[in-house]
């Protein structure tokens, strides 16, 4: 059966194309949850996990998961930037616009405004809305929930994904054109999840993300039945002043063996910076404070001022440049 499409469009030379989605559960009621990934065509973890989640939910509906029952309608859009996924392009490949800077969109506007409008219309009726990202090609994020100026229900429910970190961030001017911001105008509860790194598929992060989404559906009565796993992670809530960005003041080659999710002590070695031409060690990069390593640089080429890592602190840290950095990757 042909899946439903939220948008159909002609193309200049190739055949017409569409943006399809999964509409699972009773079509008599409004969807309770809408899940979106692949607004950026190079962020593959979310695309893969949402396709797998749709397969799982459909198998639940078909009675192939004993003891599991789907009680609500769920809309799943694995990839918004379809041509971007196929051509490995983060942005809309034709004109280079970032679809996540085109919201709320406009039905009679530019191509990507039309796409944004159609995605917003399809997801608007849901109460819970979840937008999944995977940073960018350079940086790896521990799977985490991001909240932007949340309300109390969002703060409470963000913990129900069971992911190690819930991180609260400030809005900035550029963010007013994202889907996350457009959703806020629609009410309900809205979450952004960051998981892993763009350009690659990371099975460990994918498994954790899949489990998090299913856990959230269970805890909110959308799925009924035994939970998939009982080994809950500790959930830590980090407020506005508990994110420390570690910035490099030196250029060169950055090398690190650390994985995301480590709890660091102040002074722990994070990596090294080498001179690109002479090859000598420029500096050891050490954690200035203790905390959870929630993200780390994977791109070795380092400019002055580049982000090396983010550390989530149990204590307040001075709010600094991070407000200017957090737009990168979303």
């Amino acid at each position: 059966m042909k899946p439903p499409a939220l948008l159909q469009m002609t193309a200049p030379l190739r055949e017409d194309f569409d943006i399809v989605y999964h509409d699972i559960g009773s079509s008599d009621v409004a969807p309770r949850v809408a899940l979106v990934a692949g607004i950026h065509g190079d962020e593959l973890n979310g695309v893969f996990v949402l396709a797998r989640l749709a397969a799982f939910l459909k198998s639940v509906c078909e009675g192939q998961q004993p003891g599991q029952r789907l009680c609500e309608r769920v809309v799943v859009i694995p990839a918004v930037n379809v041509l971007g996924v196929n051509t490995r392009s983060r942005r809309w490949p034709f004109d280079g616009t970032d679809i996540n800077r085109m919201f709320p969109g406009y039905a009679a506007g530019e191509t990507t405004q039309r796409i944004a409008h159609a995605v917003l219309e399809r997801t608007r009726p849901a109460y819970f809305r979840i937008d999944i990202h995977s940073s960018n090609l350079d940086f790896e994020e521990l799977p985490q929930v991001r909240l932007y100026e949340p309300n109390d229900s969002e703060r409470r429910h963000a913990r129900e994904f069971g992911l190690t970190a819930v991180v609260e961030r400030r809005m900035n001017t550029v963010f007013t054109s994202t889907i996350g911001h457009a959703w806020r105008e629609c009410g309900g509860e809205n979450f952004v999840i960051q998981a892993g790194q763009a350009g690659v598929l990371q099975p460990g992060h994918c498994e954790r993300l899949f489990r998090a989404l299913v856990t959230f559906l269970h805890r909110n009565g959308i799925l009924q039945g035994a939970p998939l796993s009982h080994d809950d992670e500790d959930v830590h809530y980090f407020g506005l002043q508990q994110t420390f960005p570690l910035i490099s003041e030196s250029a060169g080659f950055f090398v690190s063996r650390l994985g995301v999710g480590h709890w660091l002590q102040a002074g722990d070695l994070i990596g090294q910076v080498y001179d690109g031409f002479h090859g000598d060690l420029r500096l050891d990069v050490r954690a200035p404070i203790g905390g959870l390593l929630s993200g780390i640089r994977r791109q070795p080429l380092l400019f002055e001022g580049d982000l090396i890592a983010r550390i989530q602190s149990r204590h307040s840290v001075p709010e600094g440049v991070d407000t200017y950095l957090h737009g990168h990757g979303q």
């Binding site: 200049p12 004109d95 009679a108 530019e110 030196s250 250029a251 690109g276 400019f303 580049d306 200017y324």
Partner: protein, 321 residues
């Protein structure tokens, strides 16, 4: 008058090289400071050539009138130097639109450091002119775009700029991160010029802007009043939300225009067609919704549904400013 070249930001790159944000400064007798910035987007070249022509003109006038320049004229022809040198619109590596990173941050990522460095230099300018060249898709008649918030201060300056259109637009939160908004909101007047098309230089537009910029500088006292300038050749029409009509493609294909850029059009007139490389005939006819003047025309033929093909300013609501 003498000319100096320097760098307002120097950053180490991963392998050996450095990125320099280069500036040319024309020093005259004591007077106000003005600046021209260009190349915020690495694929927009019109402003670079305007910088060249202005510097050349100032050198020429100094040869006969050494006291002609009163003040300090700063040129930043390439705010996105790596983008210009590698033919990329956005800041290379960071894939960021530099004009969404203002006012920037001294300790931020490279795009924010570029923004911060230039903001610091321009803090005391009497006027900044930020020259854009549309993008590779659309050709623009020389125009100044002004956020309504700053209209009362900027429109009188723009009227002397020898342009064809002044376009007043509403406030958009996302545009608060542009250099123009950042400067204007700090009290430094900044005019945004749009002219021509990406990846090209349009010499007739260059000369038109040269005249306009020199006029405004003379009004501000940067050029001595006795210096004779080229005559004004253009008077702007006023565009705003009420009289600008957007023509977006109804279908995808190749857009073949039937009219010249900056021509008068009548309601119902055929402006162009969208055709297919796979078949004869026309997929979609593009007709003018109003009597007016075509001030934006698509240059790049391939269109998707929604691609902008033209903008028309209707005569009806348009008025002389």
């Amino acid at each position: 008058m003498h000319i100096e070249h320097d760098s307002v930001l120097s950053l180490q790159l991963p392998y050996r090289e450095r990125l320099e944000l280069r500036r040319t400064v024309v020093h005259g007798r004591p007077g106000p400071k003005v600046a021209v910035v260009a190349g915020v987007h690495g694929d927009e070249l019109e402003g670079l050539y305007v910088c060249h022509r202005l510097i050349e003109w100032l050198q020429g006038v100094a040869a006969t009138h050494p006291e002609a320049v009163r003040g300090r004229v700063e040129f930043y022809p390439a705010l996105n130097p790596l983008g210009i040198d590698t033919l990329q619109r956005f800041v290379p590596v960071f894939d960021e639109d530099l004009n969404r990173n203002f006012p920037g941050h001294r300790e931020g990522l490279l795009p924010q450091r570029l923004a911060d460095a230039v903001m610091r230099q321009l803090a005391d300018a009497a006027l900044v002119i930020d020259i854009h060249a549309s993008n590779i898709f659309l050709r623009e008649i020389p125009q100044v775009r002004i956020n309504e918030e700053f209209a009362s201060r900027l429109v009188p300056l723009a009227q002397q700029m020898n342009i064809d259109v002044i376009w007043l637009h509403g406030s958009l939160t996302v545009l608060e991160a542009t250099i123009a908004h950042s400067l204007n909101s700090r009290g430094v007047p900044c005019l945004v010029v749009e002219m021509g098309v990406g990846m090209r230089i349009t010499p007739s537009f260059t000369e038109q802007m040269l005249t306009g910029i020199l006029r405004v500088w003379q009004t501000l006292g940067v050029l001595a009043p006795e210096i004779e300038l080229p005559a004004l050749t253009h008077t702007p029409l006023l565009a705003d939300g009420r009289n600008v009509h957007y023509l977006n493609a109804e279908t995808s294909g190749l857009f073949i225009p039937e009219v010249e850029h900056w021509s008068a059009v009548r309601q119902g007139q055929l402006l162009g067609s969208i055709v297919s490389a796979h078949e004869g005939g026309t997929r979609s006819e593009v007709r003018s919704p109003v009597d007016g003047v075509l001030f934006t025309l698509r240059e790049y033929p391939v269109v998707y549904e929604g691609s902008l093909m033209a903008r028309i300013m209707a005569y009806e609501a348009a008025a002389q400013p």
